[in-house]
């Protein structure tokens, strides 16, 4: 690392902000999309009824519903970014004479 101390501080702060954005963004996206507590879905089952026969059947709608795997991935990424930010600690200033 060759950055000067203010640059390292700035980078560390930027990474931490990014971690926060990833964490909150993932949580908000997961919540807005229905807070599904199972696995992520990309085909959503829609129950249907055939009126003549009374058969209940399922059709699938193509849309993404994030599950807890998505939430865990977002939280994991945010924590990884936060951990990486510690690599950019400002170097201690040499004592001035």
């Amino acid at each position: 690392m060759t950055q000067s101390t203010p640059a390292r501080s700035g980078l560390r702060l930027a990474i931490r902000w990014l971690a926060l954005v990833v964490l909150t963004g993932t949580a908000i996206f997961w919540g807005v999309k229905g807070a599904h507590r199972g696995w992520s879905q990309n085909l959503v089952p829609i129950p249907q009824l055939d009126e003549i026969t009374g058969i209940e059947y399922v059709t699938y709608e193509e849309r993404f519903v994030p599950g807890v795997d998505f939430l865990a991935g977002g939280i994991g990424t945010a924590f990884a970014l936060f951990a990486v930010s510690f690599l950019f600690r400002p170097k201690p200033q040499p004592p001035t004479a």
């Binding site: 507590r37 696995w39 990309n42 085909l43 089952p45 003549i52 026969t53 059947y57 399922v58 699938y60």
Partner: protein, 206 residues
């Protein structure tokens, strides 16, 4: 005069035989409703899905439901769950190996414990069930509903005559019996698979 009576009797006999003959119901549904639903308990949430590629034919005689015979075939590649990665896994060679075992099949040998009330017959269907290339004899409680004259109405062509036969059933198999990950991942995916059947076959009037 005698010849006329004889001819009439012969005609009536032929018509009578035709009416008493079992109807052949085709289970390739033009409306795409037919599917086998399956359900396995697993970690986090149950794995539930459908297999919709249903074909086959069943001969059903409304006057003699006990003589019902036929075969239902499901295209293994039509198996779908709500997560496409999971669908790939289930169709892959570790699970159903659909490339080498393209058909799931039930061949009905006989109906027993037949009870008919109105247009509905309940019975136990005994036959051969084939999954992942393994065939085993099983017995499944079924309910058959004969909807006379409903074929045309269902396809929005009331002028077309014909009947419908709805078959419903529910049974459980052990995946290890069919070579599906025997003894593996039982803490994550239940060894039992619940199968639910609700399918309709059509017999249009010729």
């Amino acid at each position: 005069m005698n010849k006329t009576i004889l001819a009439s009797l012969v005609s009536l006999t032929i018509v009578g035989s035709a009416l008493a003959a079992p109807l052949s119901f085709d289970f390739k549904d033009p409306k795409g409703v037919n599917a086998i639903q399956f359900h396995l308990d697993s970690l986090l949430e149950p794995i539930a899905g459908t297999a919709s590629g249903v074909t086959g034919a069943v001969n059903f005689d409304p006057a003699n439901p006990g003589a019902t015979a036929g075969k239902i075939v499901v295209a293994a590649s039509s198996l779908t769950v709500s997560n496409s990665k999971m669908t790939e896994h289930l169709q892959g060679n570790n699970w159903l190996d659909v490339a080498n075992n393209p058909e799931i099949m039930f061949e009905l040998d006989q109906l027993s414990e037949v009870q008919t009330s109105g247009n509905t017959t309940t019975a136990v269907a005994s036959g051969k069930f084939t999954l992942k290339g393994v065939t085993k004899a099983i017995s499944v409680p079924v309910r058959l509903t004969h909807l006379a004259g409903a074929y045309g109405k269902r396809i929005n062509k009331p002028e077309v005559g014909g009947d419908l036969l709805v078959i419903r059933g529910e049974f459980t198999i052990n995946r290890a019996d069919y070579g599906i990950q025997p003894g593996k991942n039982e803490d994550k995916v239940d060894p039992e698979i619940k199968l639910m059947l609700a399918i309709v076959g059509g017999a249009p009037q010729a």
